[in-house]
Subunit: 244 residues, 2 copies
């Protein structure tokens, strides 16, 4: 397993991706971007990149906040996330910069890019799918306990990336009404979309340390296991030769 | 591949199951019941039984209408289905009779039973899960473009079988409101439940001949392929040694 950090820029902001892949000779391969939670890029994201690499893809953990700007894995990161929630055009630009950096990587097949994101990262990968022609090469995205709220950046054009959301039904950050709104948004945009709804499952279900059921945040081993199966299936379908 | 028909009874009604399995020596194995659509047991159900057998389980296509009572694969079968929709206690009894017949089969592990059903059969397998102590041995069920409406048979006890519904979001027989109601019902019953929602997908998405979009009935190759992957994953989890 080869791992490296990679600097890329969005205007004057330097970001630091973490990249993982298994070295083979002279062959590009699909790449999966990893969108981090409000804590910024953490060990969990880098581990996800390595798990993605084990599947034969390039794992590319994004850095939305910028190099050196990291939050606390289990603290309050409102100050970090808020500027991007307030300015979704900024968020989109930052994400597209990450996508461009991945596409430029020598081992990456720039026409076979996917993305998976957790919590805030779920919103990020959905926003990347919503970016339309700005995200050429993006084949599909998986939002894992992500936030559904669409950006207000004018009329949504057709979404060509396939979309899968893995969703805990008791997630207070993505309510049943949000789910219905999301279904309508995706259908209107003619996306190839799916949602896997997990019952009795709260926000942050993939985070082993999440343990605040009163706040709707709780690890759930069943949902985590099922979500990883779904992620693998999704990218298998996405990157299958028959889909090219 | 060994196939056979098997008669079983519910009171004075004789039913004829279709059973498929690969013969191996002296070992019982998990069994998957197959619930048919309003057309009654058809070739499609018997083919599903054979596909289940290829996975190493016993495929057991139920016969809810009774031996020789078969509808038309693409006609109006209201007269056949209606008595069971009107009398869900009868339906439950008929289903439990099928479950008992499967459990009594010599190659079946009576403690590892699953079920998958299509359209009306989806309602059937959900009703089997809702039968509580009457369906001991039932570990999990998959409803495929099934109807969600619960029976009105008194207070629902805890549902111990795992539940997965594979659902087309544009299915007119299972509306977004039905989906929310189902989520509430399953959560209240403390079921381990999941719903996979497929966007831009109507009722009967697994039926290659379904082609009445004006009525909300339409084959969908993507949803069919994804549903078969989900079904396999579900039974793999259900029957895994670690789950026993």
């Amino acid at each position: 397993m080869h791992t490296e950090t990679l600097d890329y820029t969005d205007a004057d902001i330097v970001c630091e991706a973490f990249v993982a892949y298994i070295k083979t000779k002279g062959r590009t391969r699909p790449c999966v971007l990893i969108g981090h939670s409000w804590a910024g890029q953490t060990d969990a994201d880098r581990q996800t990149a390595s798990k993605i690499a084990q599947l034969g893809y390039v794992g590319f953990a994004l850095d939305i906040y910028g190099k050196g700007t990291r939050g606390h894995a289990s603290g309050d990161n409102s100050a970090l996330i808020q500027p991007f929630l307030d300015d979704r055009a900024l968020l989109r630009r930052r994400l597209v910069a990450g996508l461009a950096a991945a596409k430029a990587h020598p081992v990456v097949d720039s026409n076979r890019i996917g993305a998976v994101g957790f919590c805030f990262g779920g919103l990020c990968v959905l926003d990347l799918a919503r970016a339309g022609t700005a995200s050429v090469g993006l084949r599909g995205v998986v939002s894992v306990h992500g936030i559904f709220a669409p950006p207000e950046l004018g009329r949504q054009e057709k979404i060509t990336a396939k979309v899968l959301a893995l969703h805990g039904y008791d997630d207070p950050l993505a309510t049943p009404q949000n789910l219905l709104d999301f279904a309508r948004e995706m259908s209107t945009a003619a996306a190839d979309w799916q949602v896997h709804v997990y019952g009795n499952t709260m926000h942050s279900f993939t985070s082993p340390t999440a343990n605040q059921p009163d706040k709707g945040l709780m690890y759930n081993a069943d949902a985590e296991r099922r979500s990883w199966v779904a992620i693998q299936n999704f990218f298998e379908e996405l990157f299958a030769p028959s889909e090219l």
